[in-house]
Symmetry: C2
Subunit: 238 residues, 2 copies
């Protein structure tokens, strides 16, 4: 906890959401044997301006090399430190339906410090079945004391599920149900809502923002576009 690895620098929300993207790019760059990357290249690949990249990275301390850019290995390390990838976070998934199973089976979801500890469901037909090496547990039974619970239950059930998990001492939730939940103060919840993402995209399509005007694209807070293609091609060739 008392790791003086990083100034207690409070990162801004947009910065936090971009760091994982930079990290992923650095990962790919490293795999291809490139040892450094500059803010322009990183910006094109991430879909942001070079200035934004430099501001984001400057918030992690000054480790860029003037004249040549950022060392890829150091870049990865700094982001990992800032985001806490070195720590392990125990995670449970609640709801072993289609989505829950898809998440657990994905090899992209539980990475960078997140460790799956158990999967729960209410349905007797599902309890006891195996998902990605985990035997599905009865949600009414004891709950593992973890950091984060991933909620993949139906919207109608999610509030009561969250309530029970709160009594079990869980303080952070990633909620995939299309339903806002209420929690005691001091608890954290983050929402992922597919249908809203789709609706937002459709809005942009309907209004010229998409196919008409200058290319828009949005992500979890990241816009992309443009000459990035050239850089990407360069990467793919090597």
């Amino acid at each position: 906890m008392a790791n003086p690895r990083l100034l207690k620098r409070q990162l801004s929300e947009p910065t936090i959401s971009r760091l994982p993207i930079y990290e992923r790019i650095a990962e790919g760059w490293e795999r291809r044997g490139r040892s450094s990357i500059d803010s322009t290249q990183l910006g094109e690949l991430a879909g942001v301006t070079p200035t934004t990249v430099r501001r984001d990275l400057a918030a992690l301390g000054s480790f860029g090399q003037r004249g040549s850019g950022y060392d890829v290995a150091i870049l990865k390390t700094r982001i990992a430190e800032a985001l806490g990838y070195d720590q392990e976070y125990d995670v449970i998934v609640v709801g072993a339906g289609n989505l829950g199973r898809a998440l657990v089976n994905s090899n992209n979801f539980l990475t960078r410090g997140a460790k799956l500890v158990a999967v729960y469901d209410q349905d007797p037909k599902v309890i006891g079945t195996e998902v990605a090496g985990q035997v599905v547990q009865d949600f009414q039974g004891p709950i593992a004391p973890v950091t984060v619970a991933v909620l993949c239950v139906p919207a109608a059930a999610v509030q009561s599920v969250a309530d029970r998990l709160v009594t079990q001492g869980i303080h952070a939730f990633l909620n995939f149900a299309p339903q806002v939940i209420s929690l005691p103060p001091g608890y954290a919840v983050h929402y992922v809502d597919f249908s809203i993402e789709l609706q937002i995209l459709m809005y942009h399509v309907a209004n010229g923002t998409g196919p008409l005007g200058g290319g828009v694209l949005h992500s979890l807070g990241i816009a992309t576009n443009s000459a990035r293609r050239s850089v990407q091609r360069t990467l793919e060739k090597s």
Copy 2:
């Protein structure tokens, strides 16, 4: 297309991302027989301040009743109009793996005007199987001319899949692969990246932002980017 249903009012990105939440709340409120809701109630349920609610709704025109709040039915209608729920958007899903199947089977995903037209995959073992009443088509074959493609393919494949869909005339993408894709100018892409969402949540847990400080809640992708403007500039210059 030329529906004069709404002033050409350009909604802000954060507003757009909150409107679907309000709409969902209105839906539930209506189901329970309540006929009006005020900005404080709506704000509590949505996790935002009453002022923000009022600003968001004022952008759709003034339809609130001073003294009593917003009529639930009108609220639903106005949001539906603004977001284009009345129009139908044809959608295809590319990639019938765990995630693709989970999305297609979900009854929350394809709603509010989104209509599933076809599901594609490359894998001969998957082609021809049935998913939610759709027979999975060969991705190498002809592609239905739709508005939006939902990409549920592996990260390594997603760029080439998008490239092919561009040649088939598709202009908007919802990308679930953890990989930024590049598209010609004027195309739209929106990203959903589970692992990044989880990482952001873990960051908040690690730093006091979550369990310590005042109750945090983050909604989905508050896509805060004016980077669009810079992208346009870049385009204009080139």
